[in-house]
């Protein structure tokens, strides 16, 4: 499996798309931190890239790669290899390649140029979101046979996690504003990987504001060790669960 991972990485790292993605991240992070004399503004731009662009690219790139590799997957399946290993190998290969791109393009420059606690948690969030959304992309490509459908599904997932979910929660919040909603809302937020990453970053970036009225509950939950562990486990679940379902479906899939 490790060998498969190696070859997938070799293949992806040579692709122009991944090169363009790395370059885009690198150009963005360098320009926002060197042109902007206010590092806080740079971090804010970086936050939007991590919460919006990184999931989108991870989803679309992985989905397209999986469809383009379908004949290659056929070849692999006809070899004496376990299907579980093939799929996990593909996941690991795609994921590691995107993680390398993110590290080179965003994490390293941000840590070198900013180096604050916010920069660290942002890099961590970017890596986590990449892993989560590659896993979701693998699932969508295993479920749907049609390439257009698969990409459509990936786009929908992105729209849902980064926009619709929050929209629905806000709507819910206004509908039930007479009830004590802090705890349920916090739980709902933690269940969306994008929201969870955002909240973790906010805890460093906007700690002054968060320690105000509602902030107490943020800190009570995420400020403790138990909170950090539960946040990390939810992220991990978002990586493992879709992949597990994908493996199960893939093992029964007719190719």
């Amino acid at each position: 499996m490790i060998k498969l991972v190696k070859y997938v990485i070799i293949d992806i790292l040579r692709s122009k798309v991944i090169f363009a993605y790395t370059l885009f991240l690198l150009a963005t992070s360098l320009s926002i931190f060197s042109l902007e004399d206010n590092p806080a503004k740079g971090l804010l731009s970086m936050l939007n890239i991590i919460l919006i662009i990184v999931p989108l690219v991870s989803l679309i790139f992985s989905t397209i790669y999986m469809y383009n590799a379908s004949e290659f997957i056929h070849l692999l399946v006809s070899q004496p290899l376990k299907r579980t290993q093939i799929l996990i190998g593909l996941y690991a290969g795609i994921c590691i390649s995107l993680l390398i791109a993110f590290t080179v393009g965003a994490a390293v420059p941000v840590l070198l140029l900013e180096g604050s606690a916010t920069a660290y948690i942002m890099s961590f969030a970017g890596l986590a979101l990449t892993s989560v959304f590659v896993s979701l992309a693998i699932l969508s490509s295993v479920i749907t046979r049609d390439k257009a459908k698969g990409i459509g599904m990936a786009l929908l997932m992105w729209l849902y996690f980064s926009l619709l979910y929050d929209g629905l929660l806000l709507l819910l919040m206004f509908q039930f504003s007479d009830y004590p909603l802090e705890k349920p809302m916090l739980v709902f937020c933690a269940l969306n990987p994008v929201d969870l990453a955002r909240v973790l970053i906010l805890l460093k970036m906007d700690i002054s504001a968060l320690m105000g009225y509602t902030g107490a509950i943020f800190n009570q939950f995420f400020g403790t060790n138990a909170g950090i562990i539960s946040a990390a486990s939810i992220m991990l679940l978002w990586i493992i669960l879709p992949l597990l379902i994908a493996v199960k479906k893939f093992n029964k899939k007719d190719l």
């Binding site: 997938v8 040579r14 692709s15 004949e71 056929h74 004496p80």
Partner: protein, 240 residues
Amino acid sequence: MIIANEITKTFGKLKALNKVSLTLSKGETISLIGSNASGKTTFIKCLLGMVIPDTGTISFNNQNILNTWQYRSSIGYMPQIAHYPDNMNIGQIFDMLHDLRKQSATDADTELITSFGLNRFMNKSMRTLSGGTRQKVSAAIAFLFHPQVLILDEPTAGLDPLSSELLKEKIRKEKEQGKLILITSHILSDLDDLVTQVIYLQEGEIIFHKNISQLRSETNEEKLSRVIAAIMKNNNSQND
């Protein structure tokens, strides 16, 4: 060597295979023929574990292949159309397969690589290859690990006459070594003299599975293509 027992597979409403039972023995070179969508490729994919039958069992050397993968190390498979990772070159594809199968390159069967002249293209990336060259790579891969069983799906389809002849020569050699070779093809003429058995599939059902000599005597035709044509004709007139 391979025994299929009452294999049924449906895709939606389409019955791709309907209670197919077959025994494929060592030393035979079997031509699997049938019109388009007759279930040839589905049957091959069932053998390779790429498609999982709804009912029925397949055993390979008396082992049920369901949920196993080790048996595939004894099969060489050449798909109808093959794509490989775009950004790898031919050499890397071969290296990767050696790596993945944990079999060293020294005892590999590189005869086809040499005779196809693939050595010259080892550094060419897969993206830039013509369909024919890709077929050559697929063929070379199928034979690479000295498999006991060869499954070739439309092997000569995209090949030029010279390469086609080279492949045929190779198949003949393997046949002489007593291997089981399963070929699907609808252009039969160029494989006529290799085939020892014919399986004829139609709409997911086996119409017949016979030795070539038996077929010849039944139809009084010498050339395999004529034999088949005669049978198909017979069959159609029966249906009408």
